[in-house]
């Protein structure tokens, strides 16, 4: 017979418990109450939402459709007023009385507010739910914020707001940040990283009073007399289990609602999970044990056996660019020894605390790649006496020879956590694979592993590889090259999210298998770094193909071809004379008009390049970048200047576009065309970006090609003015630079992201302008003539030594 289950609270623990029930087709009719006016979402992902890396939509775990499909009666925005455990009824706020067979508490916790004078002023908030997050997101660069609390939550709030340009000060009462998880040294590194993000950090700071004006917060007063002005004050000092309702109905309550190993409270028909419970004197704030509780509660509700066991916990901070990990106990005490490793240059710190040949605590900052392995040693109480000498270097150094990464994954126990965001452990992935999920996409769909922040994607794939053996093939197109298992997309994402700004940083953080990459990945990484950090990353010529390194096209016999730029296809008799003179002087065997309306001097010797460039420079010509993964040409017709059909100044627009875009680096070559009328003499509709001028303005279309594939462009937008058309083209180019895979032409990129997505970027004027601004920022560095620069290092084009005169004997 169908039983009635009432759930109080739509949080992460109850959401997971319901999933388990429905997956097992348990016979329950569920009513779900939630005080927040919404359903289940992933609360731990509020930090990425605040930082702008995710939207709220992306962190919803259960949508209306899901509740509907599973027959859940949702009562969101409603509190429960009273519970009568004897009659087995609950009374809703509006007076409705509902009976239940089983009741599940998931009331979570309340943020703890320090009762400072002024704590009830407007603008004093906690960091707990979507409303708090939205209030923080509404702040702009003119605002000042004070965060009280230098723990996990406070720092995630501070970093999220700082990323939005808000002036943030963190006030922490202890001597160093995150003192419960970190020791002083790691706290110092973290503090340094936060200061680099523009956050002001004050440790050992005692708050005295919150000052206000007209009921609105104005400043925080410290007990040393310092006044920290603020428009918003975030208190993130801790949480308290929310037990009021449970207490009122007579359940046994300590710090939290008492539960046994089956998650049953002192009333056999009432269960509790999540932050509101107390189990064996412990309360819980991290996600992994909450999910374990959810699993146990679901089984109990289905009259199956299950036992909740407390496990060692580890902590990671979700702040971009601050990699830290801590687990276990690392306080100083009698009989404990330390192994410490520091690399100040890399900002790496590792500390292991050992007691009786067992690791009992670990703190890692800067390089946390081996954290799972160390965590396993702590949890399994492994005897480390045999490997003590090399222990600190991690699993790769154990056993004499470097360990195969797959062997390390194979050695992980079933309950090793793989995906921290979703609390998915190795065993769940193995089970999903056993049930038929044999690729990454399927595992992600079934378990949610690697579906949130994605940093564990490689690890999930390794679990697949270990479990399936030869049956698992990582699709060949996926990884960049043999140096890595990561895809272009993964690497691009990590370069941005972890702020990796050098090639060694990418090799290190993404686990490159070679010492310095290869001819396939290095040019791609060089482009990604240059596109994402134009002002901070220094271009690496040795990671460029010879054409770009020497700014000329290599030909089959090792000679080069030289193509001066002709802006919009326009030249002058003087320029033509200079080209002819150069051809004579350097004995150029072939002079050819290219497909892009320019003149190509073919067959120039490598050592002559700087000289011919200088001659052409002197005549006013610059490099045509005929070799680049960047702007090649803007092909034009004559437009209104001469043509009786021309509707706009297509030549003039072509010249303007070429002057704007030249020097820009893109994932692949970029060719433009501007036609003055729909007769399309410049063949603009088979270019990467094409403009067809019409009476009413400019039709811009993208994604054409006339190379390996022949494609017609697809219509993007029509604009009225020339200036707007230039802005649109800058924005499209920037979106392509920021998102496309290296060596994908625009049409291939559109095939992946969809034309609609590109249209959204262009049609939203705020996004468009931001793209234009980033384009201009990058061009402020790269809109240069490489020929003039390279003439100054002409000697590097010559042989380094001449031994022809050395005696033969």
């Amino acid at each position: 017979m169908t039983q009635k289950l009432i759930v109080i609270g739509a949080g992460m623990a109850t959401g997971r418990a319901l999933e388990h029930l429905f997956e097992a087709d348990a016979d329950y009719d569920v009513t779900l109450f939630n005080a927040e006016p919404r359903g289940n979402y992933n609360r731990i992902m509020l930090s990425p939402v605040l930082a702008g890396d995710k939207t709220y939509q992306e962190i919803i775990t259960h949508d209306a459709e899901w509740y509907d499909a599973n027959g859940v009666t949702c009562r969101f925005g409603e509190r429960i007023a009273k519970i009568d455990p004897v009659a087995k009824t609950v009374t809703a706020e509006n007076g409705d009385v509902l009976s239940y067979d089983k009741l599940l508490f998931g009331t979570g916790s309340n943020p703890f507010m320090i009762p400072l004078p002024g704590h009830d002023l407007e603008g004093v908030i906690a960091y707990r739910d979507l409303e708090d997050t939205q209030q923080m997101m509404a702040l702009g660069p003119d605002n000042k914020v004070v965060v009280i609390g230098g723990g996990l939550l406070g720092l995630e709030a501070a970093a999220g707001m700082a990323a939005r340009g808000v002036d943030v000060t963190v006030v922490h009462i202890m001597g160093h940040l995150m003192e419960r998880q970190l020791d002083e040294a790691a706290g110092y590194l973290l503090r340094k990283a936060l200061i680099d993000k523009g956050i002001t950090v004050r440790c050992q700071a005692n708050s005295k009073e919150i000052l206000g004006e007209n009921g609105q917060v104005k400043a925080l007063l410290l007990d040393d007399g310092t006044e920290l002005p603020c428009d918003l004050l975030v208190m993130a000092v801790g949480i308290r289990p929310n037990v009021k309702l449970a207490q009122d109905c007579g359940l046994a309550v300590g710090k939290g609602i008492h539960v046994d190993d089956q998650m049953v409270t002192s009333d056999p028909d009432i269960l509790a999970v999540g932050e509101c419970v107390e189990h064996d004197r412990a309360i819980f704030g991290l996600v992994a044990p909450l999910y374990d509780q959810a699993t146990v509660a679901a089984k109990t509700l289905m009259q199956q056996e299950a036992t909740f066991v407390q496990k060692e916990l580890s902590t990671k901070l979700k702040v971009t660019g601050c990699d830290l990990f801590s687990a276990g106990d690392f306080a100083d005490a009698e009989g404990r020894e330390d192994i410490v490793f520091r690399d100040p240059a890399r900002g790496v710190y590792r500390r292991l605390v050992i007691e009786k040949d067992v690791v009992i605590g670990a703190v890692m900052y800067g390089d946390t790649a081996d954290s799972n392995w160390f965590f396993g040693l702590i949890r399994d109480k492994t005897d480390i006496s045999e490997m003590r000498d090399t222990l600190i270097f991690g699993p790769a150094y154990q056993g004499g020879t470097p360990m195969d990464p797959l062997a390390a994954v194979a050695a992980l126990p079933r309950d090793a956590e793989i995906c921290g965001c979703n609390g998915i452990c190795k065993g769940q992935i193995e089970d999903a694979i056993a049930d038929g999920a044999t690729d990454l996409g399927a595992v992600r769909a079934v378990t949610k592993a690697s579906g949130s922040c994605g940093t564990c994607t490689g690890l999930v794939e390794q679990v697949l590889a270990v479990t399936l053996g030869d049956d698992f093939v990582i699709p060949a197109a996926q990884s960049i090259c043999g140096c890595t298992d990561m895809t272009h997309e993964d690497v691009r994402r990590l370069i941005k999210s972890r702020a990796l700004k050098s090639m060694p940083a990418v090799w290190q953080e993404c686990g490159w298998k070679t010492s310095c990459g290869c001819h396939v990945c290095r040019p791609a990484l060089n482009f990604y770094l240059l596109a994402d950090w134009p002002l901070e990353y220094a271009d690496d010529p040795q990671s460029r193909f010879i054409n770009e390194r020497k700014h000329a096209n290599i030909q089959k016999d090792g000679t080069f071809s030289v193509v001066p730029r002709m802006w919009g296809g326009i030249t002058t008799p003087d320029e033509l004379r200079a080209i002819a003179d150069a051809a004579d002087k350097y004995m150029v065997p072939t002079v050819k008009v290219t497909g892009g309306q320019r003149i190509d001097l073919l067959g120039v010797k490598g050592e002559d390049l700087p000289n011919i460039w200088k001659d052409l420079n002197d005549a006013g010509m610059v490099s045509g970048y005929a070799y680049s993964k960047g702007l090649r040409t803007v092909k034009t017709c004559v437009g209104t200047d001469h043509c009786r059909f021309g509707t706009q100044d297509s030549t003039g627009l072509g010249i303007k576009l070429e002057k704007t875009l030249h020097g820009s680096w893109t994932p692949h070559k970029l060719k433009l065309g501007v036609s003055g009328c729909p007769r399309n003499c410049a063949e603009a509709t088979c270019k990467d970006i094409g403009v067809v001028c019409v009476d009413s303005g400019y039709q811009i279309s993208i994604g054409g090609a006339a190379g390996m594939d022949v494609k017609e462009t697809e219509f993007l937008i029509q604009v009225a003015t020339e200036d707007e058309s230039i802005d649109v083209i800058k924005a499209v180019t920037q979106a392509y630079r920021e998102n496309a895979k290296y060596l994908d032409r625009i049409y291939k990129w559109i095939g992946k992201v969809g034309l609609e997505w590109v249209k959204e970027q262009i049609e939203d004027l705020t996004i468009r302008q931001a793209l234009v601004d980033r384009f201009e920022l990058s061009q402020s560095v790269y809109r240069v003539d490489p020929w003039a620069e390279h003439v100054r290092k002409a000697e590097t084009y010559q042989p380094i030594a001449n031994l022809t005169l050395e005696a033969a004997e």
Binding site: H519, R522, T804, A808
Partner: protein, 111 residues
């Protein structure tokens, strides 16, 4: 006995870069790896005589700029499924200078 000739300063070659040395029998390419080892090879890929000095240096290998054949700087052997070998010559670094074996020049002159 080896007779070493000083041909250039190590810093005249960019890390992961290459420069040419002219000899009577054509050019020899000098490669510098990221860890400052130096190798001397004929500047011609066994495939279509691509100029190896213009290739991308990675690890202890260079990729020919014409058709991406990968050649070991240590042995001159073509890597992977392709076949062939490029002549290599003794080279070393001492006190920041690049030294070539004089014997190799004689050999190339006599060839």
């Amino acid at each position: 006995m080896t007779d070493w000739i000083d041909v250039a300063a190590l810093d005249d070659i960019a890390p992961r870069g290459a420069r040419l040395v002219k000899t009577r029998m054509g050019c020899v390419a000098l490669f510098r790896t990221a860890d400052d080892a130096v190798f001397a090879l004929d500047n011609a890929c066994p495939h279509k005589q691509g100029p190896l000095a213009e290739g991308i240096v990675h690890g202890k290998a260079v990729t020919c700029p014409l058709h991406n054949w990968v050649i070991s700087l240590e042995t001159g052997l073509v890597q992977g499924n392709d076949e062939g070998q490029v002549a290599t010559y003794p080279a070393r670094v001492a006190d920041g200078r690049v030294l070539l074996d004089a014997g190799f020049i004689r050999a190339r002159s006599a060839a």
